[in-house]
């Protein structure tokens, strides 16, 4: 990866590739990028908000858990729309893999801090899929169907 903390490659009107380092300060910029992309693809304001928050939570989890606060980890992201016009976000990290058994949303009856990231992703997106089969790191795929409010 180059020295830049965030690199964007516009592959086509329907595909954007981004590489960033694992820093929380960049999450805001990623929210703006996905907002712009999703609006461009015809998603409405509520859908765009859902996608922004889900991406935010996914990146915060990667930085906190996969890279455990290391600010130099690499994260590759792809935004694209599939043949149905649905928005697909693929996030690849090269950090520590999570134990799939631990990937469960917590009970909402508990009034406490933390543990809501995965729950929000599942609630806001139509597909949340982890792939732990990579040699290094994890691939997370998030899909938002167009105009299919949950």
């Amino acid at each position: 990866m180059s020295e830049k903390p965030l690199e964007v490659r516009e592959v086509s009107n329907q595909e954007l590739q981004i590489t960033l380092v694992s820093r929380n300060e960049l999450i805001r910029e990623l929210r703006q990028k996905v907002k712009f992309f999703a609006k461009q693809q015809g998603f409405d304001d509520e859908e765009v908000f859902d996608v922004q928050l889900a991406l935010n939570e996914a990146l915060a989890n990667v930085i906190e858990h996969a890279y455990q606060g290391d600010q130099n980890g690499r994260i590759d992201i792809k935004f694209h729309t599939d043949q149905n016009g649905d928005l697909v976000i693929v996030i690849k990290d090269y950090g520590q893999k999570a134990d799939p058994e631990c990937l469960k949303s917590r009970s909402l009856d508990e009034f406490r801090e933390g543990g809501l990231g995965l729950y929000l992703m599942e609630k806001l997106m139509d597909v949340v899929q982890f792939d732990f089969s990579q040699e290094d790191g994890t691939v997370l795929t998030l899909i938002k169907r167009k105009h299919c409010h949950k």
Binding site: N24, E25, R28, L53, G114, L120, L124
Partner: protein, 111 residues
């Protein structure tokens, strides 16, 4: 943007602004903790200028509420914009917090 603080009689009103996320939510946490340490017993978080928050920011409000309870202080939220209110509903945190439509209603409800 740093949260602002205003005193209206015995109510301490904290106004965070903009997008609050994992990167900048500590400033809100600090302001709430400082207010409680300085003896505030009636705390109102005016959310009117908050356009976005993530789960880390929600955590700051949960910890603020708990700290207030430990200090025997009242902790209320008001003026949530629809996207922010949606996050409270999705996470069902709205059932734990004392949430009001506007500041006047919240201030009038302090015991």
């Amino acid at each position: 943007m740093e949260p602002t603080i205003e005193k209206q009689n015995d109510v301490t009103i904290i106004r965070p602004a903009g997008e609050i996320d994992t990167h900048n939510c500590d400033s809100l946490k600090d302001v709430i903790q400082k207010a409680l340490k300085s003896g505030a017993k009636r705390l109102l978080i005016d959310m009117s200028q908050v356009s976005y928050l993530d789960s880390a920011a929600l955590g700051v409000l949960v910890s603020g509420f708990k700290s207030a309870r430990e200090s025997r202080a009242q902790f209320k939220l008001a003026n949530m914009q629809p996207p922010v209110a949606k996050i409270f509903q999705l996470t069902r945190l709205s059932k734990f917090f004392d949430i009001h439509q506007n500041s006047d209603e919240a201030i009038a409800s302090f015991k």
